[in-house]
Structure formats: structure tokens, C-alpha cells
């Protein structure tokens, strides 16, 4: 299990050769994005991107004891996601697009009516209001044995390019550009619902008045935070915008789902072999010790926005698809991991084998992180020089993780939930291109040579490696080689220096170095 430069070059080149001509046009009429978009058929879509998260689920999936309590967490998560998906996508409710759930975090898009800024912005904000009401007033009372869940949200509006990964049977919508990125970035870990200045400005006055301006110090930007909205006023607002969310119907669907999926039918188990994610569902979940890896193309949002501005979106998308597919190949083929999801320009991966062996799981996850950086720095940048400004930022963490496939029939999302998943995502989000950030637990499981390549960051309380590629790791492991006889083999391909003899290699104890 390892990454190889030549294999990587061949894979990326083959993908580029077979990619076909990329087409990017402005979306000017309504369309089913799932059918329209593909790797090469891309659209510049004006819309509001909404992220809504229930942070409690990650804690519950990590700390809840085995048995019925844990089944209840799974049931709650499944039912929450099913109903939220119905609210978002119901033509008679919000008529939005559920891009996917990232664990318990929803990413939704509103683009109808086409280019109608104020209606699109209003729908995005009203969805957040409705979901907050749903969680507090419908979901929480229906699940009294779960702690009270809270909801955080973020939204932004503008143009983002929609595309899709090209894997048969495993296709996901991908959105690239500032609104898809900032909507997620302004999310907080608490129960705040925030929107960017752009979406606030686009809102009608009747909705703007519910927001208060606040400074987001992390992003160094002004955002707007939603205050309380009385139930009667929410109903009036929904009426005004022709949205027909019926809280009684929502509660009934929740009750029906609860009857359909009772606790005694919900199963979960550990995994001895690589999890087949397609076999997962509400009655078949996995609870495993796993390492989560998030690899993000740092600087890609700015790059794609700049490229679109200069009419150069096609080469930028070519870069994205080359990187994206290679990231997936590294996870799946080179390190036998699970490629959980693409989230725009980011890949989420999970490593849970060998079962319960945290040392090997951690090593495999870090080897993958190094391979992701190697592929970017040594392969993609060589084949696509336009990617020279980009870099991969990686976060790695380990812990108990709930793995499942949730949602409504036909639109189920692969999900991994747990504190370690959240932590890995946070580590990655705080890292620059070329950085690999790992928790101290992961670091403690690495061999001595590899440990030395990471530096403790006392501010972030993480170990960070910068510009670490596979060849450098190999060389770091050679540090003690030169005290004994080395074996040198040379020829057309170059020279290799190793600790073991190969055919035609020459052996000698290297000279003791000196400098005047």
C-alpha cells in the first residue's frame, strides 16, 4: 500500500486525455441540476448557498454509550435528515436543491426563480428560520431522550460553477466559487444563524430587520446574525413568499418515519473488512475506530473566481477534475480507504482498517495525506502548470465514527459523524496549502522518523508538516543509512542509494564528510 509517482502521472494523464471538452455556460433557465451537470457540462449558477448544521450529532455519535441510546442517536439523525431533505426539496415547500449532507451538515442551493436575487435570498433565509423552528419545536419534543439539539446556519449568494464528479453510480454535485465557500465558512459551532453582507443586502426589508450586524473575527468580515422570529411572524413571512411549510405535516412525517424505522430495527456494528458504503442504511450502520482525512485544494476558490473573471474557467475546471480524481484514486486504490465525499474542491476520506488497530490506521491516514500532497506538488503541477499557485491542505484525526448512508430513497448521502471527523475538517480548514495538520494522538502513533517531520504548533495545539512529499519521507527514513555500507545502482533511469543490494549495485561505506 503506497503511492507511486509513475502510477500517479499515468492516472492523471489518462484522465486528462479522456476528459473531453469542458463547457461552461451561464444557467439561464430552470433545469434539474442532477441531470444537467456533468464533469464536462458545467454551469455558472447564480444562487444562494445555505449550510445548516446540528453540531450536537457529532458529539452524540462519539460519546453515546452502546445499545439503545446509540440506536436512538442513529434514528434521530436519519429522521432529521429525511425530513430536512423533504423540506428543502419539496416543490410545494422550498423548491431548493439538496446538494448533500456532510455528516449532519446540510448544503442546499436556491437558484429559482432564475437570477431573481431577492426571492432567492429570501428563500435561503426562510429555510434557515424554518429549520431552526423545526429542530426546536418539532424535532426536540419528538425525541425527548436525546439532548436538545441546536442548529447553526450560514448563507451567501452569488455566482458559483456547478459541476459533477464523473464516477458512475457515485456522482455528486460540486459547486465552486465564493458563495459555496463562504456560506460554510461563516458557520459557527454554536446555535447562530449567519448570512453574508451580500445576501443581507439582497433581502427585502421585511426580512433584513431580523438580523443584527456582527464582526466575524475569524474571517475579518461583517456578517449578519439572525435574531428570534416569533411563530406567527414566520407563518406570515412564509405566506408572503408563497411557501407552504405545514408544521403539522412535518410532525406527522416524523412520527410516520419513527414508526417505519423503530429502534429495534436499527442495527450497528464494527467492521472487519472495508465498509461497503452502498450496503449501509438506517438498518445497517457501522460504528468504527477510524481516521478521518480531509484534503482541500487551498486557494482554489480564489483561483476559480479569478479564472471565471478572465474567461478562463475551463482550464481551472480541468485542474479541479484532475486533482479531484487523483485524490479519490489515492484514497481508494493506493491506500484502501473509503472516499466518503467530495465537498466542492475537498475530499473526505476514512480509514478504519485493520479493525481497532489505531497505530496502523493512523499511519495509513498520514501516508495518504502525504500522497495527496505529493500528487499535487509533483504530478498535477508538472502536468498542469496553471495549477502552480495551488496547494493541498490536509487535516487528520482519529476517533469513534458513525458511518452510514442516510436520507430519502434515491438521494442518500454517505455520512461519517464523530468528533474526530469534525476535528479533521477543522484542522484542514486552518491549514495553508502544503500543510498536513494532525492531532497529537495521530502523531503519537507514527514511527520516529515520520514524527520528526512534524512540528508542534503551540497555538493550534497540533502537529504540522509543511511541503512533505513521499520522496522526502523516504529520505528522512534514510538518515541513519550512511553509517554503514550503502548500495548504489546507476543507469539510464538515474541513481538509487539504498541499504540493500540490488542487481548490479555497488557497495561501500561512504566517506565521512568534512568541510574546510
Amino acid at each position: 500500500m503506497s503511492w507511486n509517482y509513475n502510477t500517479s502521472v499515468n492516472r492523471v494523464q489518462a484522465h486528462l486525455d479522456g476528459m473531453g471538452e469542458i463547457e461552461v455556460e451561464k444557467l439561464v433557465r430552470d433545469a434539474d441540476l442532477h441531470s444537467l451537470l456533468s464533469e464536462t457540462c458545467c454551469r455558472d449558477i447564480y444562487g444562494a448557498h445555505v449550510y445548516v448544521n446540528v453540531p450536537n450529532f457529532a458529539d452524540l455519535a462519539t460519546i453515546t454509550a452502546e445499545g439503545e441510546d446509540y440506536r436512538r442517536v442513529i434514528q434521530g439523525l436519519h429522521l432529521y435528515e429525511r425530513e430536512v431533505a423533504r423540506i428543502v426539496e419539496g416543490e410545494d415547500i422550498f423548491d431548493g436543491v439538496r446538494i448533500h449532507f456532510q455528516g449532519a451538515k446540510l448544503h442546499a442551493l436556491f437558484f429559482r426563480p432564475i437570477d431573481n436575487t431577492s426571492v432567492i435570498a429570501a428563500r435561503a433565509v426562510l429555510l434557515q428560520m424554518v429549520l431552526r423552528h423545526f429542530v426546536c419545536c418539532i424535532f426536540n419534543p419528538e425525541f425527548p431522550k436525546l439532548p436538545n439539539l441546536s442548529l447553526s446556519g450560514g448563507a451567501d449568494i452569488g455566482l458559483a460553477i456547478g459541476t459533477k464528479n464523473g464516477h458512475r453510480g457515485d456522482r455528486e454535485l460540486l459547486f465552486l466559487g465564493a458563495p459555496a465557500n463562504y456560506a460554510a465558512k461563516i458557520l459557527t459551532g454554536t446555535d447562530a444563524i449567519r448570512v453574508t453582507a451580500a445576501i443581507h443586502e439582497a433581502l427585502p426589508e421585511a426580512l433584513q430587520r431580523y438580523f443584527t450586524e456582527v464582526e466575524d473575527r475569524r474571517l475579518d468580515a461583517t456578517v449578519h446574525e439572525l435574531g428570534s422570529v416569533p411563530v406567527e411572524e414566520l407563518d406570515d413571512l412564509l405566506d408572503e413568499y408563497g411557501l407552504s411549510w405545514d408544521r403539522e405535516a412535518s410532525l406527522q412525517r416524523l412520527k410516520d418515519d419513527k414508526a417505519l424505522y423503530p429502534l429495534n430495527q436499527i442495527e450497528y456494528s464494527d467492521a472487519e473488512v472495508l465498509i461497503d458504503m452502498d450496503s449501509l442504511g438506517i438498518t445497517n450502520n457501522k460504528r468504527v475506530l477510524a481516521a478521518s482525512v480531509f484534503g482541500d485544494v487551498s486557494g482554489f476558490t480564489a483561483y476559480i473566481d479569478k479564472s471565471v473573471g478572465e474567461g478562463e474557467a475551463k482550464p481551472a475546471l480541468r485542474v479541479l477534475h484532475a486533482i479531484r480524481k487523483e485524490m479519490a484514486s489515492i484514497v481508494k486504490h493506493d491506500f484502501d480507504g473509503l472516499r466518503v465525499q467530495f465537498q466542492g474542491d475537498r475530499v473526505q476520506a476514512l480509514f478504519h482498517l485493520p479493525k481497532g488497530d489505531d497505530e496502523h490506521i493512523a499511519a495509513r491516514a498520514v501516508d495518504t495525506a502525504i500522497a495527496l500532497n505529493s500528487a499535487m506538488e509533483l504530478v498535477v503541477k508538472k502536468l498542469l502548470p496553471e495549477a502552480k499557485e495551488l496547494g493541498i491542505a490536509v487535516g487528520v484525526s482519529i476517533g469513534t465514527t458513525l458511518v452510514s448512508k442516510l436520507g430519502t430513497r434515491g438521494h442518500r448521502d454517505r455520512i461519517c459523524i464523530g468528533d474526530s471527523v469534525e476535528n479533521a475538517a477543522t484542522y484542514q480548514e486552518g491549514s495553508a496549502g502544503g500543510e498536513i495538520a494532525v492531532s497529537s494522538i495521530i502523531h503519537g502513533h507514527l514511527d520516529d522518523d515520520l514524527q520528526k517531520l512534524f512540528i508542534w504548533d503551540s497555538d493550534r495545539r497540533l502537529y504540522i508538516a509543511t511541503d512533505l512529499t513521499q520522496d522526502k519521507v523516504e529520505r528522512a527514513r534514510k538518515a541513519s543509512l550512511f553509517k554503514q555500507a550503502v548500495h548504489v545502482a546507476s543507469g539510464l533511469q538515474g541513481v538509487s542509494v539504498s541499504s540493500h543490494a540490488t542487481s548490479g549495485s555497488r557497495s561501500f561505506v561512504p566517506s565521512k564528510s568534512f568541510a574546510e
Binding site: Y5, F482, K512, S513, F514
Partner: protein, 238 residues
């Protein structure tokens, strides 16, 4: 009438001697093992160089190419060639054993493994160079904290380390014998050894001192100990 000329004709450069046979042999060796290096003669200076790249392969398939120049001395193969960082890939630094003009210090001169009579001498030199370059990459990969593998101390201290090793690492002996090594004290062979052992010098340290002097060379010893020690003038021996 035959008149003997007083003007001495310029000796042929080493690569033209023996009908160019020495050069052809070295070319064959380089072609077989380091094909990305090419011999190039500089007609103006009459020097021969070996230029090109040494490509170091990692097991994962990543190749790192380093531009090098190997300069041959006029008396080659009596003395070994010198290797340089032709592309300025590495900074000049004593800690990484690279000195002015990017010259690679592969070894302490008295420990040079060069054997002029070995037909594979140039191949061994290039292999040593390849290992030295690999060590440079290891040094970079490990954060430039510690030179990978054994090394002598820098400058005069490195030579003293060598001399000590030849005197069984006995510091007292070294202090007593240094004036002898430097030629300041010339004990008779049958006189007591300056180390204080009460043995005759010839039966005690005479051969070790002779070996040290011949390996380091009188000129180098003079250079090392007669030049002013700018860091610590009081420590200057003479």
C-alpha cells in the same frame, strides 16, 4: 649539429596522454553508469570537465536531478577530481559540506579513498558523489538539523580529529606530539618519545607521526597552523 633545446615543451594534458586511452576508458565507464554526464574539454584552459546531471531516484518513483560539474586536475589520475554544484541547487554552507563556488567536500583530504591505480576509480568517485548528494536531500528532508551520517568537525578541528584517531584518540599524546607533527620539534629516532612513554621514539610514535604528516601533507599543515586564527588569535600556534 644537434642542439638540445632549452625550452621545455608543454606537457600533454592527461586526456591526450597514452593516445587518449585514459580518457576513453573513463568515458566508457561514465557512459555505462552515469550516462547523463558528458566529458567536455575547455580548449582555452586545457582542462577537462564532466558536466550533466545526477538523477537520484526515490523508491516511490520521484526523480530529483542535480546539475553537477566535475573538474579534472591536470595531473589526473594522480589526484582526484573535484565536484561542484553546477546549478546552485544547495546553499554554500559548512554544515552541509559545500564551500565556495559550490564545491562539494566529499571527505577529509587525508582520508580520500581515491586510488589512482584502480580502473574503477572514477566510478567510485561518482558513487561517492551520488551518496553525498543523497545526503544533501536527506539533510533537507529532515529539516537541516543534523548532517546524516558521520562527519568530521569543520576546518582545522577536523584535521585534529583525524590526527587524534591516528594516535588512538589519546589527547595527551596529541598535545605532546603536535610540535613534532608540525616540524617544530625533531626528536632523534633513538631519543625518548615526546609523548613521555620512556620508549624510544622510533619504537613509539615515529611511524604514526610520519603517517599523519604524509597523509595531511606538510603544505597543508603549514597552512592550517601558520595562518592567523582570526577567531582566537591567542590560539595561533606560530
Amino acid at each position: 649539429m644537434y642542439r638540445r633545446s632549452h625550452s621545455r615543451s608543454k606537457p600533454k594534458p592527461w586526456f591526450e596522454r597514452e593516445g587518449g586511452e585514459i580518457l576513453r576508458a573513463e568515458q566508457g565507464l561514465v557512459q555505462a553508469h552515469y550516462p547523463s554526464l558528458t566529458f567536455r574539454a575547455d580548449t582555452e584552459s586545457g582542462r577537462m570537465y564532466l558536466d550533466g546531471q545526477i538523477t537520484l531516484q526515490a523508491n516511490c518513483g520521484v526523480a530529483t536531478s542535480i546539475a553537477v560539474r566535475i573538474s579534472f586536475p591536470p595531473n589526473y589520475p594522480e589526484t582526484e577530481p573535484t565536484a561542484y554544484d553546477a546549478g546552485g541547487r544547495f546553499p554554500v554552507s559548512a554544515d552541509r559540506h559545500i564551500i565556495n563556488e559550490g564545491q562539494f567536500c566529499l571527505w577529509l583530504p587525508p582520508c580520500c579513498p581515491w586510488d589512482k591505480d584502480d580502473p574503477s576509480r572514477l566510478l567510485r568517485f561518482l558513487d561517492e558523489l551520488a551518496v553525498f548528494l543523497e545526503r544533501q536531500l536527506v539533510y533537507d528532508a529532515t529539516g537541516r538539523q543534523e548532517w546524516p551520517g558521520p562527519q568530521y568537525k569543520h576546518g582545522t578541528a577536523g584535521y585534529e580529529e583525524f590526527m587524534l584517531s591516528k594516535l588512538a584518540n589519546n589527547e595527551e599524546d596529541f598535545r605532546s606530539l603536535l610540535p613534532v607533527i608540525l616540524g617544530q620539534l625533531r626528536p632523534g629516532r633513538n631519543e625518548p618519545c615526546p609523548c613521555g612513554s620512556k620508549q624510544k621514539y622510533k619504537r613509539c610514535h615515529a611511524s604514526s607521526v610520519a603517517d599523519i604528516v604524509s597523509r595531511i601533507g606538510r603544505n597543508t599543515l603549514d597552512f592550517l597552523y601558520k595562518r592567523p586564527n582570526l577567531r582566537n588569535p591567542a590560539a595561533t600556534m606560530m
